[in-house]
């Protein structure tokens, strides 16, 4: 063999060093903010770099109660969970219809959905604001839930349609021979089989909606209700020097995302790669 064991080993080590360097760059800002969320203000100003002298949990309670992060957290949870539910349910229905039912113009309908996804949100928010304020619902939870659901649906339908198409026909045929109705085979066979794709849709949308700022800023501009990202901005502009509680607030925003990702990363990775390799 021309290629020696040694150069193979060398290559492996070089790649490992490159990776560790970038892992450090990636993770450092997050570690930094976590460490500082546990310091008192004095401790923070004394040495930003060091580990905390004493663990200072009160930053968390200060952020949660005094800076109302808890309240914003609840708002965001309500809005995002309902929007994600709508996206999943409507997405499964439409994905099934487009992928399995041989509808005329199915391709054209899907293209239309995807074209709608291409529209930048910047040119939607102002007309949408005007529409909703005319309807008198601007500033309510519903004024966030509806657009979030509508904007998330195109990709959800796309992922789910592809997934439904990949399920072998034999299963459905069998059910049909047994006399199952279209509705029954949809509910009892297709939906359970599509669970991995549904998980992908849930995570994908949860992650992107949890931090949505543009529409939230516009829709809630005159409302007292705030979502988490919006609340953090208010916090930052009012208590810019209160680094401890601010760091704590940042950690509390990131926590659900990290948890959701860690628990479901296998599905998530499968899902985004399945969608991407199609293109």
């Amino acid at each position: 063999m021309k290629f020696s064991e040694n150069s193979e080993r060398l290559e492996r080590w070089i790649t490992r060093v490159v990776l560790l360097f970038f892992v450090a760059i990636t993770i450092y800002p997050i570690v930094f903010v976590t460490i500082n969320s546990l310091k008192s203000t004095d401790d923070f100003y004394a040495n930003v770099w060091a580990l905390p002298k004493a663990i200072h949990w009160s930053n968390y309670s200060e952020a949660w109660f005094d800076a109302k992060i808890g309240q914003y957290f609840t708002n965001s949870t309500i809005v995002v969970v309902i929007a994600v539910l709508i996206i999943s349910v409507f997405g499964v229905m439409a994905g099934y219809a487009l992928g399995r039912l041989n509808l005329p113009y199915a391709e054209a309908i899907l293209l239309f959905f995807l074209a709608m996804k291409m529209v930048p949100h910047e040119s939607l928010v102002m007309p949408l604001y005007l529409m909703m304020s005319r309807m008198g619902i601007i500033g309510e939870h519903i004024s966030l839930i509806l657009p979030y659901a509508g904007w998330g649906l195109p990709i959800a339908v796309y992922i789910l349609k592809n997934y439904f198409q990949s399920i072998p026909n034999s299963l459905l045929e069998a059910a049909r021979i047994d006399g199952a109705s279209e509705w029954l085979s949809f509910r009892k066979i297709m939906v359970p089989l599509a669970m991995p794709a549904i998980a992908t849709v849930i995570i994908f949308n949860f992650v992107s909606l949890w931090g949505e700022l543009l529409w939230a800023t516009v829709a809630l501009s005159t409302a007292t209700m705030k979502t988490l990202p919006l609340g953090i901005i208010v916090f930052q502009s009012e208590f810019a020097t209160d680094w401890g509680p601010l760091s704590a607030a940042i950690c509390m925003v990131m926590l659900p995302l990290v948890l959701v990702f860690l628990f479901m990363q296998k599905y998530f990775v499968q899902g985004i790669t399945a969608g991407a390799n199609k293109g």
């Binding site: 892992v23 997405g91 439409a94 040119s123 992650v207 949890w210 931090g211 940042i250 991407a276």
Partner: protein, 296 residues
Amino acid sequence: MAQHPTRRNILFGILLLAPAAAAIIATTLLPVLSNLVIAFQDWNGFGAATWIGFDNFSNAFSDSYFIESMKASFFIGILSTLGAVPLGVLLAACVFKVGKYEGSAYRVVLFVPVMIPLAIIGLLFTFLLNPEMGLINKVLELLGMGSLQRAWLANPDTVLWVIALIGAWRMAGLTMMLSFASMISIPGELFESSRLDGAGYPRQFFSIVLPLIRPSLQVSTVFSFIVLVSTYDLVYIMTRGGPGTVSQTVPIYMMKTAFTYSNFGYSATLGLLFSVAGILAIVLLQRLFKGENYEI
């Protein structure tokens, strides 16, 4: 065999399709159409709107704030995509090389920034870039390069570069994940036979891997560009468009025009022009990737 569409079937399909279609039409199609109408009007959002033809458009082309904001948006979009995609591919190549178990740990960590909302990333870096006690200036001081210390976000020469770099940092993980996914589908024999010919990993990478992962490179380039060219959150948190209007991207300028100056017609025009420019850029990108097609 797929079944033939029957009338019952079609009815069932329409029923299933209707809610999603209605939601998409109400939240995207209607606003887009309404944006199109408002773009030709002079309107403060309350009183009666007057039709003014193409006045908003001709104003936009001579509006130096708009031109500058277009430049800022595209600067951030292009530069950070140029940073994110090659970096992501490099990381994927490394993850691929170190093997399955070790690689998956790196993969999870390197993907984390993609999940963190841009608003939070903005806050994190405001922290790290703080001129007095931020990390970046401290590191420069330690390395004996104190003369390079800057107020990174308040300096008109550096602010856009810094934002673009942060954008690249955020999106590299996506390219990494997508390229890695197509790398694992490359047949192993290809590597073995080239190895016998004496090719090292770098050469294998350029001659085998890169051509074969082109489709996912295209997806991640287009996706990163779409996310980063319309940067709003990051800029809003870190600079509010400043210093002056140096880092004012189009979305920031649009929001100001509509909701601070109550000039809704003009804001709609800016949105329309920005969307058209963005879609043209994406079509151009797709063209660039077309060229030759490699197949396994």
